[in-house]
Symmetry: C2
Subunit: 222 residues, 2 copies
Amino acid sequence: MTCFTEIVTRRSPLHADTAGAVDALFAARGRLTTADRGQTLVMEEQPIESVYQISSGFVRCCSYTQEGQRQVFHFAGPGDLLGFPDLGIWHFSAEAVTDVVLRSIKIDVLEEAMTCNRAMQRELRRHCLEQIAARERHLVWLAYLRTEDRLLAFLEEFEAAGSKRGDMVELPMTRLDLADHLGMTFETVSRCFTALKRRGAIMMNGPNMYALSADEVSQEAA
Amino acid sequence: MTCFTEIVTRRSPLHADTAGAVDALFAARGRLTTADRGQTLVMEEQPIESVYQISSGFVRCCSYTQEGQRQVFHFAGPGDLLGFPDLGIWHFSAEAVTDVVLRSIKIDVLEEAMTCNRAMQRELRRHCLEQIAARERHLVWLAYLRTEDRLLAFLEEFEAAGSKRGDMVELPMTRLDLADHLGMTFETVSRCFTALKRRGAIMMNGPNMYALSADEVSQEAA
DNA sequence: CGACTGTTTGAACGATTTCAATCTGAGTGG
DNA sequence: CCACTCAGATTGAAATCGTTCAAACAGTCG
């Protein structure tokens, strides 16, 4: 119906039954905006004026400690929403990992659209729940997986999120971005890629294209 | 007004302006229930029939990996809510860390109360946002803090959450509970307590009563 | 062809886990 | 009242994993 066919593939199964109301709102009232690689879209603590849906490209959602260390919570891609459970101020910064195209709508347009719209409220609530679930999965990775398996878990989730092109998946982010997401140094990320290749868990074509090997995936299923 | 004076102290500042609607609902329609230490209140994946507010005692919210490892996301105490952003099924297990008293209300009573009640909807949304923020703080601890500071960060947050009694704070949970929360082994938790004592960051009275030392707190403020 | 950014690799060091032993306090039964 | 038991807590020593610091490599843009 709309032009979001490939976009919706990044959504979690949770959204399957209700997805649509928010997409429709962005399709109807979203203003197209662009941002260059490296540009900061929104900053933590700033007041929210608009909320966004990514059309193409990738964004890292992150925050910084007093010591200047960066924690990347999420790499948002096509179809993903930015700013949703937030009230009043952004609770993270969003920075373009690649050139990005997004649709924006004013926050009061969204709030108004949500009033008395049970479907949209429910969609928002599911979105919050999925955010929490994602953070908790992430927490388990950091707490229990050694670095190599942590990276593999990420690669699997990233592929499953729908970023597959043909038989290989392209990583839009650098080793340092991954390191700040996975709680390790970029050297360790690099070493883990090497180890996963050697172990036969993945194949790579250059530093940014990978494919999970079939037996590794079925191992996970078992 | 109600009997929740000391309970509300565990709430985050975020709630300050809107807190009340949900508390009032629990006060009016909540059924008192009890659970013994060790008892599982709700299990991950099970359908939600009721949601809860803790009156007294502590509960650990956690999930288990296939390998049986446990990740404790949150220790919920007096005033805290259980089951809120969830839709349909519990997304974590809740187990009593101490004997617990809680109020429960049927899920459809809550859903009905939320309909057309903007204040309650807003309160729920803030609650979701606070949950996400808490998970993200937690993620930063695991990614960037070494074990000793991770434990200290927890002790500070736990005291700030309002569990202070007199000048000492009582820890209701075991070293293993803490370990599964902080992503380390219980031996390391124990060693960290010893190190923090030696460093002068905390004082202890038995293994479960602690007080943060004043200069350590002001260090954090600086 | 440099210059630059991002990636890979090596070696020494340090932090945390693992495995094992010991200690403490609360509750129980004689 | 005391010895016994048991769960939880503490401590030690060796082994492992990840970081740090340093150097080399690759691809891209002027």
